[in-house]
């Protein structure tokens, strides 16, 4: 089971809670203030932080799916 992370860019407003919860997975784009998933983020990390990040998004812009 791998975790797929999708960011709804229309909803994201750069609150940055995801960056605080999982700094090696999420960052904000300096041009747009919108969150993105860091390329090649560690695959072996625990999913807890990512789930926490999704839960802590004030506008629920982080969608997680397992495949």
């Amino acid at each position: 089971m791998t975790l797929h992370i999708e960011i709804d860019e229309a909803k994201c407003a750069g609150y940055g809670n995801c960056v605080a919860d999982a700094p090696d997975v999420f960052d904000l784009d300096p041009d747009t203030n919108i969150a993105f998933v860091v390329a090649g983020h560690p695959q072996d990390r625990k999913d807890d932080d990512i789930e926490q990040a999704a839960a802590d998004c004030p506008v629920r812009a982080i969608l997680l799916t397992r495949a």
Binding site: G14, Y15, G16, V19, A20, P23, D29, D48, E51, D56
Partner: protein, 390 residues
């Protein structure tokens, strides 16, 4: 077994609901009950003074759906107020009878401080719940001059919403600068300039001394200077405090809030298995070595997740928080992060061509906090660095 323990959560706002969710995420399989004094469906509060004043998309503010609740296997008791606590018998007394628990989480929040002189009038507003927002929205829809008493985050957001509708706004702040407890003077000045640029008639050092009112309506407030400020709507945002009166005699220690140790365990006489989270929790934050309450959404969630993990694991470890808050006022997102005490910091300001402004706070050469106006990226980085393990 830990998992057979019954968890009872008092308060179904962001902190209480998050405890329930995080318990399940952590694999806790025991019964969870959530009681809340409010009849309204559990809802999120940041939007009450933001989106809910702009339009009626109230469903979007619900913290969870009935389906979510069923999936979480949490029993929700709405309109049930806590009225007493027997910590030895591990029983919560409520308006709907007694609830037994093994772990009790107090997430009772805070209520707006009220101004007695204005009490009971139809055109006086406080802002805490969706119902408050609906009522204020209806008032703003009718038009007329808005007098905002208190220049804090709530007052600033209400003033913005009213200006966006083109209504005239007076903002009365008792202190000589805005959000003085949170930020250094240059940031207060910056925020004040922004309000004035958006047409808010801001008065600093403006203390309400008297009121000109009929039994049903306030016509004007009278300032200590003698100046009269008339209006159609009076919105009071002068801070909030937790209601801990119902805990008197329970053995639970209360002061400015519900007193907790560094792990968010409630202190007191014969108090065991009781935790507090959110606005009401006055805990010893090991990050700063101070006992304080933090009324921020993000901190409430962090505390909730922390306590849920402690209950699920049967442990208690210190909870260190770096406070973070945002506020949407006029055309800016204001964000503030870091040390709750900025009285002795150096301030550096950085302005970008795109209109982003970042104030960084230093102590002994190290960044201890920052405030940004539309500086989301910079704030996220400061926050990340402050949170990084040393």
């Amino acid at each position: 077994m830990t998992d057979r323990r019954r968890v009872l959560i008092v308060g179904a706002s962001v902190a209480g609901v998050r405890v329930a969710q995080a318990l399940r995420t952590r694999g806790f399989a025991g019964p969870i009950a959530l009681v809340d004094a409010d009849e309204q469906w559990p809802h999120d509060r940041p939007g009450v003074s933001k989106d809910a004043l702009a339009d009626a998309a109230d469903d979007a503010l619900h913290l969870l759906t009935p389906d979510d609740l069923e999936r979480l296997d949490v029993s929700l008791h709405r309109g049930v107020a806590a009225i007493g606590l027997d910590t030895r018998g591990r029983t919560l007394g409520t308006t709907a009878g007694n609830f037994a628990y093994d772990d009790l989480v107090l997430a009772t929040g805070s209520a707006p401080r009220r101004l007695p002189a204005l009490e009971g009038r139809d055109n006086v507003h406080y802002l805490r719940t969706l119902r408050d927002a609906e009522r204020l929205r209806a008032g703003l829809d009718a038009g007329g001059r808005v007098v905002v008493i208190g220049g804090g985050f709530i007052g600033g957001e209400v003033a913005s919403a009213a200006r966006r509708r083109g209504l005239p706004v007076d903002m009365l702040e008792g202190s000589d600068r805005l959000i003085a407890r949170a930020v250094p003077p240059p940031v207060s000045d910056d925020l004040a300039r922004r309000h004035r640029a958006h047409g808010v008639d801001l008065r600093l050092g403006a203390l309400v001394a008297d009121v000109d009112a009929s039994p049903t309506r306030v016509r004007a407030v009278v300032l200590a200077t003698g100046e009269t400020v008339p209006g159609e709507h009076f919105v009071v945002g002068v801070g909030a405090g937790p209601d801990t009166g119902w805990l008197d005699g329970s053995g639970v220690a209360t002061g400015n809030g519900i007193r907790c140790d560094g792990t968010l365990r409630v202190e007191g006489v014969d108090v065991d298995g009781v935790w507090a989270v959110g606005d009401a929790a006055e805990w010893l934050n090991p990050r700063y070595g101070v006992r304080h309450r933090v009324e921020h959404w993000t901190t409430a969630r962090e505390q909730a997740a922390h306590v849920a993990a402690s209950i699920a694991a049967g442990t208690a470890v210190p909870f260190a928080a770096v406070p973070y808050v945002w506020s949407d006022q006029h055309d800016v997102r204001l964000q503030h992060v870091g040390d709750p005490d900025l009285t002795d910091v150096g301030v550096e300001v950085e302005r970008s061509d795109a209109g982003r402004v970042l104030y960084r706070y230093y102590r002994e050469g190290a960044v201890v906090g920052a405030t940004g106006f539309n500086a989301q990226v910079a704030i996220a980085r400061v926050r990340r660095d402050l949170l990084a393990p040393i």
